[in-house]
């Protein structure tokens, strides 16, 4: 006898899915879609009618076409350069065992969360007037496109090292060994076995780098000079300098369309990557460098030293290079308001503001991103993939648009947040959420479904299952997600610059304000404040890289699932490596 499944039983999963997605959706509707729609509407709707003709006007403008062309080709060039420079690094960090490996891996990640304003100033200090290359070789690169490309490699090195390297470290070396035993040479084994397994993650990393460089703002703003602009920079100019809102609206739509296309490509590569791979504990795959690998290691270390450590060091050195010799003069100056009217409060107060805002933004991002990740773990399918992509969208949307949109849309009931300090954390959380989702999702997906079922059969309600089984397993991922959300909130500039109140600037806003003023004192203070920001960001990351001290947490792999340590016990065939939808536990995103 056929009997339909009880209605309640069929509706329950749907209700759970809706409940989990409701809050993230509301958040995105109110704080992303609404402000962006409002500013686009403000630009394109005049006299009660939509001015669609403006789209043609703006797109027909040769200077806009120039911007579009530059945006595309510099993104492609940056991506190619980043992959070329970072892929050997991915191998070295994934497979070679050398002293200081963990520390160095944290160091290369620092630029990843560094505010673009700071990075821009670092490269200005390195390549610009009076910079290192200027004094040594008389070469100034700050006016050439190379400065932009190199700065982009600096930023995105970690994206490739972490996404590709994370997977590379977990590929079972025995697969390659099997190919060798079957008669493949060293290179052939790599090409036939390892490369196909890596290819999707290389593609995914490439797409992410392309997305970030396509929407690059701070770097191009500082290093691009008057002639070079990306769409993002152009939107900023149209909005904040020329006040041509219709043009800004068209460019915003154009960038949104491009980003949606890039994200669609990204989703495709991700899905292809979710083929079953044999993954093992990353701790067991690294080996001491031998033969030619020593030269490779040396080359990678040299690249890291020149490309990443040097700019950061130059920045710090400049902050100490005061008017009366080396010292903390610039740092001391940060404690007072100064003669000109750049600041209403001592710049040092920006540290407190930044920390407070970032803490609130982290809380919001964890709540929204955690709920979204939980929903994405429970359900799959086309709709959920769309939801996933929606969460990524703020990363690729002009922060300027979002910031300005906040100003003009969240000023009337029911969402009158003009006087609320929450406005800044809300905007910052928008870029934090994608990080939280990207970090949490792979780990949540790696929690064996049957572990949840085991708890349920033992009498745990769904909420209890989440608290007792999932939360302890993902606790480390929550920490990492929180750290990333905190760091990107700390560094968020494009939106914050619009909505931070003049009497409570954040660190990047204060840096930009100082950079915008002439004089050595302002420049030195900007360097000092950037160094402080860099140290705070780096401290966040280093804390994340330290494993938790609790005895059981230490034994739990960061990504539970690929292999539990129990597999090392002689007869524990049960816990051996099993196929897993491979998605390394690394975020694929960066603040701008």
């Amino acid at each position: 006898m056929e009997r339909p499944r009880p209605l309640a039983a069929r509706l329950r999963p749907l209700a759970v899915g809706l409940g989990l997605t409701a809050l993230p959706l509301a958040f995105f509707a109110a704080f992303f879609a609404y402000p962006v729609a409002a500013i686009v509407g403000r630009g394109l709707r005049q006299g009660g009618r939509w001015q669609w003709g403006r789209i043609g006007d703006v797109l027909g403008d040769p200077s806009v076409r120039h911007v579009l062309w530059f945006t595309c080709w510099q993104a492609a060039a940056s991506t190619a350069l980043t992959l070329a420079v970072a892929l050997p690094g991915a191998y070295v960090f994934a497979r070679l065992d050398f002293p200081g490996r963990r520390l160095l891996r944290a160091v290369v990640t620092v630029p990843f969360v560094l505010p673009t304003v700071v990075a821009g100033s670092a490269f200005l200090a390195l390549l610009g007037r009076g910079g290192l290359t200027d004094t040594l070789f008389g070469a100034r690169l700050d006016t050439s496109v190379w400065a932009i490309l190199i700065a982009h490699v600096f930023f995105n090195y970690a994206v490739v090292v972490r996404t590709v390297g994370g997977l590379w470290a977990q590929l079972d070396p025995r697969q390659e060994e099997a190919a060798r035993v079957l008669g493949a040479g060293r290179f052939a084994a790599w090409r036939r076995v390892t490369l196909p397994a890596l290819a999707p993650s290389v593609a995914a990393a490439g797409v992410m780098v392309f997305l970030f460089t396509f929407t690059s703002f701070g770097v191009v703003q500082i290093l691009g000079g008057p002639t070079r602009a990306t769409l993002e920079v152009e939107i900023y100019r149209e909005t904040a300098e020329i006040f041509d809102l219709p043009a800004a609206a068209v460019l915003t739509l154009l960038q949104l369309a491009a980003v949606v296309a890039i994200l669609a490509v990204h989703a495709r590569t991700l899905r292809r990557r979710e083929s079953a791979l044999r993954l093992v504990d990353a701790a067991g795959t690294a080996h001491r460098p031998r033969g030619g690998e020593r030269a490779l290691l040396a080359a990678v270390l040299a690249v890291v030293a020149v490309l990443i450590v040097l700019p950061l060091a130059v920045l710090a050195a400049r902050s100490l290079d005061g008017p009366h010799g080396y010292g903390f003069a610039f740092y001391r100056a940060l404690g007072s308001v100064g003669d000109d009217s750049t600041f209403l409060v001592p710049p040092l107060q920006a540290i407190g503001n930044s920390l407070r805002y970032a803490a609130a933004a982290t809380g919001i991002a964890l709540l929204i991103g955690g709920l979204a990740a939980a929903a994405l773990t429970r359900r799959a399918g086309r709709v959920m993939r769309g939801f996933d992509a929606l969460l990524m969208l703020p990363l690729g949307t002009s922060a300027v648009t979002v910031g300005f949109g906040f100003l003009i849309s969240l000023d009337k009931p029911p969402l009158d947040l003009r006087d609320s300090w929450l406005l800044v954390p809300l905007a910052q959380a928008l870029v934090g959420v994608p990080f939280v989702v990207r970090v949490m999702l792979p780990v949540l997906r790696a929690v064996d479904q049957r572990l949840r079922e085991a708890a349920a059969v033992l009498g745990a309600s769904p909420l209890r299952v989440w608290r007792e089984v999932e939360l302890p397993l993902v606790a480390r991922a929550v920490g990492i997600a929180a750290g990333f959300a905190f760091a990107v909130s700390l560094g968020e500039f494009g939106a914050t610059v619009f909505i931070a109140r003049p009497d409570s600037p954040t660190l990047p806003v204060a840096v930009a304000r100082l950079l915008g003023r002439p004089g050595e004192m302002n420049y030195g203070q900007a360097m000092a404040l950037s160094t402080i920001l860099m140290v705070v960001c780096a401290a966040c990351l280093l804390i994340l890289e330290v494993p938790l001290s609790s005895p059981h947490a230490a034994r739990t792999p960061a990504v539970p699932g690929p292999q539990t340590p129990a597999a090392k016990a002689p007869d524990a065939g049960a816990a051996g490596p099993r196929p897993l939808a491979a998605e390394p536990a690394e975020p694929a995103g960066r603040a701008r």
């Binding site: 085991a454 059969v457 209890r464 059981h552 739990t556 539990t564």
Partner: protein
Amino acid sequence: MSGPLLRIEAATVRFGARTALDAVTLEVAAHETVCVLGPSGSGKSTLLRAVAGLQPLDAGRVLLDGADQAGVPPHRRGVGLMFQDHQLFPQRDVGGNVAFGPRMHKVPRGRREERTAELLDMVGLPGAGARAVATLSGGEQQRVALARALAPEPRLLMLDEPLGQLDRSLRDRLVVELRRLFDRLGTTVLAVTHDQSEAFALADRVVVMRDGRIEQAGTPLEVWRRPASEFVARFLGFDNIAEADVSGAVAETAWGRLAVPDAGPQGRRRVLVRPTGVRLDGGAGLPCEVAARGFRGGHVVLRLRPERGPWLDAECGLRDAPDVGERVTVSFDPEDVVVLP
């Protein structure tokens, strides 16, 4: 309460076009141990998941103590399930794993700790409560998983391939221990396995499944003596099967004329000769050549190529086992000839 503890009525589960459970009806009485036996993909794990409430039914009912379980979530069904690969919680120690169920059922701490210690004693791991799960061997994990499943005192304990991944000697020992434990506790058990020796050693009743349907159910002895179909016979490892014309107590086969127990099915049938019934008596029987031989503990299994008819498996003692290539003649013991229905 009279009536069975568990009653499955026409349970059906479909995964797309594939039917994993096809109108399965099964009863398990209180204190009974029932083993579901079948090759992988026969739907036996799905059956357990359906009873636990982890797999919704497309049709049919699951009743526990006479109550329909439709809409009752897994954590309110009061059944225990031991997973194939144990699924111990990696972040908890052994004691934390065992105490998990009682904790969910709000058993007070003192009683909980008592119970945990008691169960660890019972499964042969006294004092292991503080050990990390990662340090356990496979056999130890299995014991902890069993203690964890028993801890909330489920009315029905279900085991999914309980000994599947363990090596042979450990498995043989544990199967005896399990049987003794269930007898002592009076636990009602529904287990699934693909290993017939495990099923026969553990169960009061065996259910053989094939493609989501029950092919045969009965006591181990019944199933062993009278396989209900060629599938069951071959699954039990009996490959001596030939076409036959049965009339009265005689079956005409390619191997010759076989005596069969009368009153069985008649006409065009298949007959099975158990390997123990293939006798190497050197008389005027069927001439065969020994093609291979393998040692199974105390006896030898011979692979024989008869002059006519399908190949034969035969069992004989270690001492009088012929060499490969030798020619032997065999006869058939009527006690070990079964006419398949």
